[in-house]
Symmetry: none
Subunit: 203 residues, 4 copies
DNA sequence: AATGAATGAGTCTTCATTCAT
DNA sequence: AATGAATGAAGACTCATTCAT
């Protein structure tokens, strides 16, 4: 469909050249139509980019949900590893969307900024909720704060992984993936092993 | 000096709007001159941005060197913590340079791309060299490969920290800093504690 | 048609001001449109001028062909006179094209230079071929070299005529036309009269 | 001297790019100074070009005078030949001046136009005067009108020669030179031989 | 659903010129 | 005698957008 082609072309151009650099005429060319025709589908450039950005965010959400539905019953170490793996997979397989995300994270265009921060809020809430219930399923005695901190470490390590995808090649990314899982496992071991954090360590 | 003002203005505009979005007329206005005057100092836009990018990279290098000269004699945990702190400090204090860096990391302008990858190469070599000698000073028995791996973990965690600076607010960044130091310390303890990696574990 | 108007306007501006002096905004104004609209029809200034130059050359060729088709059966003196007349007519009736030609003959723009020299080559070959067959029709016994030399004289005198059109007024040009025909006729008489050049003057 | 260098540079640039195409900064560069310095020697661009144009015209006049002073006593055929030779020599040896002349002959800049037409007027008067007296010296009985016509033919053939220099290479120019002398000699022979033009060849 | 033709606003850049030094 | 620094005006060209078809 032409509209989809336009959104793909918009993402691709935006990811390479940013908002100002993504021109309607290049987007049209990539979609195989003439610039004037874009206006049949979108009111203007901002609207087109807005939809393109939304598509990127939706896609990301869908990717992460997928993993949860498949792996939420695994033990925490496996779950964290799988999620790290998915982060890497999603961002390497959708390089243009990832680049676009990197560009727009600090976008001065207020609409995009709001779109992103709304998404990050929603995504974060969802992630915390999912992780909390998954962790609790396997470790019902962990304190709320401990779980919360664990999730925070997971997110922090995930950030390292994300930026690694942006700047490294395939080999470097794989190494990072191992490092991420290792650091997380080490952290989890320390938390669970210490015992002090368990709610009722009944005797 | 006018030329310096232009470079500052270029960094600022580039960090907000990207290459295409940073206009000569805005840069000129920010530097307090007229657009035509830019061409007395720089051959064209690309050259101006090139010098601006170089200034960012030089500044980053200078910041990291500074820390090394002050802290290279501290024990590894302190050194890593200080370096993490410096990464955070440099990037929070120079927000526009950091945003610019994020934008240009995937720049489609080949000159900029080359500039960045050349820098990353140089910086990485320097960092590895410095860290290697610092670590070796305190742990002369560590094997080459172990040191190398430790540095890799340091860089990986540093990436998480960097991306955190980009997307988080002050509070979030401070939390990340703690997490970074904690994860690194935990990793180091594990490595050093294991003993198996020491070259001559003789008695 | 807008495109044709643009080419006319381009020729006119180019003939007055040369390549650098012919501005897109003046050309647009003369064609009754806005400067930006030129780019719908032509890729850029060079392309527009290139097409304008080509139009001039095509027009010149068409003019000369016309005369040949009408007069090729006349005797040589009449033919030469008619051709001289046509040279004068074409260049006086298309003053701007003639001025443009004078300017571009030494153009430093390599594309234009090539266009001209390609044309001169083609035109010259055609002219020689046509004249040769016309002359031979009336004087089958003339040697190849003699015909060739006669054509050379014709071209040389034509050059004087051409430059006369450029620098003289109407009266001066008419005087030149008489002179051209007179000199050529005199030359032809001498060649034909001498007899020595006839191939087989035996019986 | 810098001023002379500037005039040379101006001629050279003007000959290649025309009035609008000859830029002050290029001229300055060719003269080995900075653009601002031009204004120490010339009030503005028009003044500089005006002086450059004048230099070209003066040089041409000097060249033609030279030949006259050396050859005015030769018989008419030799004189005409020598003058043709000088025309060719002057214009081949001063290619940039010749190109400049071709460009400016139809200049829309009114000052230049006037300069040229004033010069052509002066030069023509001088030429006619010189030729008349030279011809009369050898052929005192020729009628005024006959001399005048002969000079006209000389000028006409000279025009062909001039344009030949502009468009031909060395070999072609030499051929033209032969043709010019031949045509002129033939014409002269016819005039002088006819006898009818001699004033009173009374006995 | 798509486009040809057109344009106002703006982009980068050049140019002739100025003026204090 | 020469220039560094600066600029208003203009140049070629791009861009998002419009509108009749």
């Amino acid at each position: 469909m032409t509209k989809d082609k336009l959104i793909r072309a918009a993402i691709n151009n935006f990811s390479k050249y940013g908002y100002q650099g993504a021109t309607m005429s290049n987007i049209a060319k990539d979609a195989g139509i003439k610039p004037a025709s874009i206006y049949y589908f979108f009111e203007n450039k901002e609207e087109l980019i807005r939809e393109a950005v939304q598509a990127i965010l939706n896609h990301h959400f869908a990717s992460m949900k997928e993993t949860f539905y498949e792996k939420e019953r695994e033990n925490v170490n496996v779950l964290f590893s799988e999620l790290f793996g998915k982060i890497v997979l999603h961002h390497t397989e959708n390089e243009d969307e990832t680049k676009a995300y990197v560009i727009m994270v600090n976008s001065p265009i207020s609409n995009i900024k709001k779109q992103i921060s709304d998404y990050l809020h929603t995504y974060n809430n969802w992630l915390v909720e999912q992780l909390t219930s998954s962790i609790r399923r396997h470790h019902p005695d962990l304190e709320e704060a401990t779980i919360s901190e664990m999730i925070d470490y997971f997110i922090f390590i995930g950030n390292g992984l994300f930026w690694g995808v942006v700047i490294h090649d395939k080999a470097g990314i794989q190494r990072n993936l191992t490092q991420a899982s290792h650091l997380m496992a080490q952290y989890v071991t320390q938390i669970l092993g210490s015992g002090q954090n368990e709610k009722q360590q009944g005797h």
